[in-house]
């Protein structure tokens, strides 16, 4: 006993020493530059090398290496999520954002920017056979896909063009192919990498609307900002940046202009605003309106899915209880599949997998059907338990009174089972309400998606969080309340009738 404890202590001490040793080795190295970017669908900025998936490549990756070298630091890449990248920088997960970040007005309130290192333009893409859309103005009555929380999405919002936000360019261009949307608006670098080679897509019109990419820094990190700015100057002047951009086929006249500005120092600081198309500021009435719209989507999703679940749950339960052997196996298989796999995976499968079979449902319908199919599995078990709780004598009494199985089920068994099933059904419905939030994975603009986008755009995670929670409660509390009242009424009906009978007698 004591011996084994001593062994354990020894092992722990050795481990501690080892970590200390490696720690001190690190400390002797150069200071690190931790940079955050979203590598999923991140080409050509930074993305996993298709040939060696454990390594990241991309023009910004190479640029960071050059910047870090110029700063005398060792770069350390922190993969993160684009939507929440500003907040993640603020909470200190990394030191700088280098991810094709545009210096928008609302971001300027939350973080600092370096000087620009790249001038991008926007490109509209449509399907090869599409002859209707040539400019953004042609999209007024159509849906345009774009990356969430970007200059492009802000431009669309500003122009009041209906758009759908995606988490990565791959999903947007795929949905364009599948006719779920009519066009995609994206920064040229992404368009070049993800759409230009696709024979089923084509650019609509020339690139337009210039904007800049900058490095994002925490407010107050002024020393670092000076270093970064100096490093950008250096790699621009010595041609390192041009070499990298040329290698990635991203060098154009605009970049030459940007470098020319560098030669004329006084105007350099103005370049931010000169190229800024993204002044869309945040206003509260607009935010509340969008949240309300998202809440409606959530309600429709929840009710639609519950309707499917309730309708499909009963045949499943009956199939499992009373069906022939093979019907039972099918029902059990269905139930175990949908209960045993995450609903998120099911939605992704329905959304991205089914189109391979020629079935391309729009996002909201996918979410509705997916959640409905998923919850049907749960409801069937609620029904089954409720049906099994009804004593066999109730069936037999019904039969001996001449009822058919259908009549006995409808008039005698179901009403009793319903009473048993009501509380767990209410529970499921409330959790379905919350589960609608997984629909954000397939770009449905429901409440959770709205929260994420609006909060990311403004940094108002607290305030918007409270508002969104209030929305959820406002929707789910009445439901729970209604169900409780129904339950009580069903229970009380018996006692009330008894009391009335006594009073009357």
């Amino acid at each position: 006993m004591t011996k084994s404890i001593r062994c354990l202590c020894g092992a722990l001490a050795a481990l501690l020493l080892l970590t200390l040793a490696t720690g001190s080795v690190r400390a002797q190295e150069q200071p690190v530059l931790r940079w955050g970017a979203d590598p999923s669908g991140g080409a050509p900025y930074v993305f996993a090398d298709p040939a060696r998936p454990d390594e990241y490549i991309g023009y910004e990756k190479e640029m960071v290496d050059a910047l870090a070298a110029a700063m005398g630091r060792r770069p350390e890449f922190v993969p993160t999520d684009w939507e929440t990248i500003v907040s993640t920088l603020q909470r200190g997960s990394f030191d700088v954002i280098i991810n094709g970040l545009e210096p928008t007005a609302d971001r300027a309130r939350q973080i600092n920017f370096s000087k620009p290192y790249y001038i991008f333009q926007l490109q509209l893409t449509v399907r090869r056979e599409d002859e209707r859309i040539h400019t953004l103005a042609d999209c007024r009555q159509r849906t345009v896909g774009t990356l969430g929380n970007t200059a492009a999405s802000r431009l669309l919002a500003q122009e009041a063009i209906p758009f759908r936000s995606y988490a990565d360019p791959v999903g947007a261009y795929r949905d364009l192919e599948l006719r779920r949307i009519d066009a995609v608006l994206m920064d040229v670098p992404m368009e070049m990498y993800y759409a230009r080679q696709n024979p089923r897509l084509k650019p609509a019109g020339a690139p337009f609307q210039r904007g800049t990419y900058v490095v994002g820094l925490r407010k107050g990190d002024d020393a670092l900002k000076a270093q970064v700015d100096a490093a950008i100057d250096k790699i621009m002047r010595d041609g390192t940046l041009e070499r990298i951009l040329r290698k990635w086929n991203l060098w154009d006249d605009a970049q030459a202009e940007l470098r020319a500005q560098l030669e004329a120092p006084p105007s350099a600081s103005n370049s931010n605003t000169a190229f800024d198309l993204t002044n869309a500021t945040f206003n509260w009435p607009e935010a509340i309106l969008r949240l309300t719209r998202a809440a409606c989507v959530t309600v429709l999703l929840a009710f639609g899915a519950m309707l499917i679940a309730l309708a499909l749950g009963m045949p499943l339960a009956l199939g499992q209880l009373k069906g022939a052997k093979w019907v039972q196996s099918i029902c059990t298989l269905y139930i175990e599949f949908f209960r045993g796999t995450p609903v998120l995976v099911q939605l992704l499968f329905l959304y991205f997998g089914l189109p391979a079979l020629g079935i391309a449902l729009p996002g909201w319908l996918t979410a509705l059907v997916g959640l409905g199919l998923n919850y049907a599995a749960y409801e069937s078990q609620v029904y089954r338990a409720a049906l099994e709780a009804i004593p066999r004598g109730q069936w037999e009494a019904s039969y001996s009174l001449g009822m058919t199985p259908v009549l006995a089920f409808r008039r005698i068994i179901l009403p009793q089972a319903f009473r048993i099933a009501l509380p767990p059904m209410t529970n499921d419905f409330v959790s379905l309400f919350k589960d609608t939030s997984v629909a954000f994975a397939i770009s449905v603009w429901e409440l959770a998606t709205a929260y994420r986008e609006l909060a990311n755009a403004t940094g108002q995670f607290m305030l918007l969080g409270v508002i969104v929670s209030a929305f959820y409660l406002l929707m789910s509390l009445p439901m729970a309340h209604l169900a409780r009242r129904l339950e009580r009424r069903l229970q009380r009906r018996q006692t009330v009738a008894a009391v009335q009978a006594e009073v009357a007698a």
């Binding site: 109730q394 009403p415 008894a498 009335q500």
Partner: protein, 246 residues
């Protein structure tokens, strides 16, 4: 009238009923006695079609249910048989979600398609006759065991069966209520019903049953007019049983 010929029933690999033959004359009462597990309840369940019979036949008025019928045909006959036969289960199985009145009119309205008002009038009549008129609006769970039993009887009678099956009708009754129940059942027979009553309580059947049937191990050991069987049992096993029952 009921006629049973060569009735056999197997379940779980054992023979529960081993070729029963008997008949019950119209408007008479047959009492069935026998030790626990002798197959009395199973016999009643065969008589109202809840158990599928494995051999023999059951005939009730113009309905003949035979083991060798094809499934669809068999099912049709079972339904016809159930129109003739009313059952009062040992555990009653009243519908807990329906009021007393609704328990009674449920089958007439939805099976026989009697207009609701007509069914209600008839149900109230039945309740009146059973002394339960005031309980019409109450729910089963608020009634005493004896009252619940009378509701179950009214529910069976509402279908106007010619045969009534009772399983242990006195198990929940005190001696006075038992005597009342005996008088009630007698009255049903006088009104034209044919009754089959399973009971452990021999004293209950005396003065009620026109004939008795003693079962043991799924077989009929002896049957005959009540007085005769009680006074002079032919079989030693019957004698033993009666000895212990006294």
């Amino acid at each position: 009238m009921i006629q049973v010929a060569g009735l056999t029933k197997r379940a779980g690999g054992t023979q529960i009923l081993r070729g029963l033959n008997f008949e019950v004359a119209p408007q008479t009462v047959l009492g069935i006695i026998g030790a626990s597990g002798s197959g009395k309840t199973t016999l009643l369940r065969c008589l109202n079609g809840l158990e599928r019979i494995d051999g023999g036949a059951i005939e009730c008025d113009d309905v003949r249910l035979a083991a060798e019928l094809a499934p669809a045909d068999y099912q049709r006959r079972v339904r016809a048989l159930r129109r003739k036969v009313g059952t009062v289960f040992q555990h009653l199985h009243l519908f807990p979600h329906l009021s007393v009145l609704d328990n009674i009119i449920e089958a007439p309205v939805h099976v026989l398609r009697v207009p609701r008002t007509e069914a209600e009038a008839r149900a109230l009549e039945l309740l009146e006759a059973l002394g339960l008129r005031s309980a019409a609006g109450r729910f089963p769970e608020s009634l005493s065991g004896g009252e619940q039993q009378r509701v179950a009887i009214a529910r069976a009678l509402a279908m106007r069966p010619s045969v009534l099956l009772f399983d242990e009708p006195t198990s929940a009754l005190d001696p006075r209520r038992s005597a009342e129940m005996r008088a009630l059942l007698r009255r049903f027979a006088a009104e034209g019903h044919t009754l089959v009553v399973v009971s452990h309580a021999l004293s209950f059947l005396i003065g009620l049953a026109d004939s008795l049937l003693y079962m043991e191990g799924g077989e009929i050991v002896e049957r005959g007019p009540t007085d005769q069987l009680l006074a002079a049992p032919q079989d030693a096993r019957t004698r033993d049983f009666l000895q212990q029952a006294k």
